[in-house]
């Protein structure tokens, strides 16, 4: 396990490089050598059948799961998991996670804290920022997701869409280099999906680097710069949305997309 800055000349390199990533849970092999590149300021979507490994790949990018093999580089931070993964300390992993935002399907807000406290918890506890300064950043992020008027509420008082917008603000407050979104509208009632998608679309317009795992293709088609189709733990196909959605080269991809088209998914979801 190495954690070392890689030499400069970073301007033309992808912001994120994942090489030959492997991950198993017990005897269940989930990722069988996945390589992905993400450019700074781009939006990438991971699509694929359930159990294909796309969520695990996303969680590995944040070190919520520690890969069994392969490498991850994000900016100038480099991790090589080929050696022993035991030596990645809680401190190292936590420091890395603080730089990579993640938003979850089930929000995972802290129910005993107010909306504002949720958003500034990382700043106060992890960054040791004075409360006043943290609150200013908190207000700024809540404004961005349109949740300023709910700052004193508790998560239990919010709708799913509002919870998810707060969760996005909580991730943004840490000013992450990349935002990872794991099926962030899958748990929402259909009428609450748009408010969350609007926030994501605005973030994309602002140049936020994002990777999103999604089951809904229309939104991916509209917003993403790159689409990666994953099945059985490997990347089957990747390219621009037009390439993948309209001119898929692989039979496996075409079958997968055809199933979605037949199902007539009119709603746009992430």
């Amino acid at each position: 396990m190495n954690v070392e800055p890689t030499p400069g000349a970073a301007a033309d390199r992808p912001m994120i490089e994942v090489r030959d990533l492997r991950k198993s849970f017990g005897t269940n092999v989930v990722l069988r050598g996945v390589s992905v590149e993400v450019q700074r300021g781009s939006v990438t979507s991971l699509i694929g059948p359930s159990g294909s490994g796309k969520s695990t790949l996303l969680r590995c990018c944040n070190l919520l799961e520690i890969p069994d093999g392969g490498q991850i580089r994000l900016g100038d931070k480099f991790f090589d998991f080929s050696a022993s993964k035991k030596s990645l300390s809680d401190r190292q992993a936590a420091a890395y996670r603080a730089e990579t935002g993640m938003v979850f399907q089930h929000f995972n807000l802290f129910p005993h804290m107010s909306v504002l406290q949720n958003v500034i918890e990382g700043l106060v506890t992890v960054r040791r920022m004075p409360a006043k300064q943290a609150r200013e950043i908190g207000f700024e992020q809540l404004n961005k997701v349109g949740m300023m008027d709910k700052q004193g509420d508790y998560p239990g008082q919010l709708s799913g869409g509002q919870k998810q917008r707060v969760a996005i603000a909580r991730a943004l407050a840490m000013s992450p280099e990349v935002l990872l979104l794991d099926e962030v509208t899958s748990a929402l009632d259909p009428e609450l999906v748009d408010e969350v998608l609007a926030v994501i679309r605005q973030l994309a317009a602002d140049g936020m680097t994002m990777i999103l795992v999604t089951h809904e293709m229309a939104f991916a088609h509209m917003v993403c710069d790159k689409v990666i189709f994953i099945a059985d733990g490997v990347v089957v196909e990747s390219g621009g949305p037009a390439d993948v959605f309209e001119n898929a080269k692989h039979e496996r991809t075409r079958q997968f997309l055809a199933r979605y088209n037949r199902a007539g998914h009119a709603e746009v979801r992430v």
Binding site: N62, L64, R91, A94, F107, N108, F110, E121, G122, R170
Partner: protein, 219 residues
């Protein structure tokens, strides 16, 4: 049956009964607090320690959970001095047995409370860069404590009743004083009726309080 009930004579023994109540309540409060402290330390050790710490702690918990308190008490009082060569007073044996017994149950309540918190809470906290102890302190334990409170109250009520076992090693608790009065007066029916009423009068407010607390927590 025409037993003639007569409680009047018990008034003479009021100071004996009062010391009994104070001893019982003192043991219950003292060993509950000690047991909670030891139980939380064991719980934390099992949660964040390596296997070299988890295994002996779990062994301790299971040992005290799976043997009767009366056996522990008698063993600490009679057998420990033989093994260690140090004389153990009845007071110390009673304190140790009640503390260890309570701590093993409190440690389990602690473990269950932490396990009751959804794994997503850990994910959410880890994703903003929090470390293990920070997550426990800021996110998991505040929520887990709410879930633990009813079980802690319940165990504390049991603890007060369990103190009656210390009378077997001649610690002058409420039950022991009752047996003294009985042997002086030969009127066990009145004596133990009073003892039962007194235990009830101490514990009933406590169980009311705990059900109020549960209602308040369930809001």
């Amino acid at each position: 049956m025409n037993y003639e009930w007569n409680f009047g004579f018990l008034w003479e023994y009021r100071s004996l009964i009062l010391t009994g109540i104070l001893t019982t309540v003192g043991f219950a409060v003292g060993t509950t607090i000690l047991g909670l402290l030891v139980g939380v330390v064991i719980g934390l050790g099992r949660l964040i320690g390596g296997p070299w710490l988890r295994l002996p702690l779990t062994g301790f918990v299971e040992l005290f959970r799976c043997t009767p308190l009366l056996v522990q008490l008698v063993w600490l009082y009679y057998a420990l001095p033989v093994i260690s060569g140090v004389q153990v007073s009845a007071f110390l044996a009673a304190t140790l047995a009640l503390t260890f017994y309570a701590s093993s149950f409190f440690a389990e309540i602690f473990r269950g409370g932490v396990a009751s918190i959804d794994a997503g809470q850990w994910d959410g906290a880890r994703a903003i860069g929090m470390r293990r102890l920070q997550i426990l302190q800021r996110v998991i334990l505040p929520q887990a404590f709410r879930n633990m409170l009813p079980a802690i109250m319940n165990q504390s009520v049991m603890q007060l009743k369990n103190t009656s076992l210390v009378s077997t090693v001649a610690v002058a608790d409420l039950l022991y004083q009752g047996s003294i009065i009985t042997s002086a007066t030969y009127r066990p029916l009145e004596v133990y009726t009073l003892v039962a009423v007194l235990y009830f009068l101490v514990l009933f407010p406590l169980t009311r309080l705990s059900s109020q607390l549960e209602k308040w927590l369930a809001r």
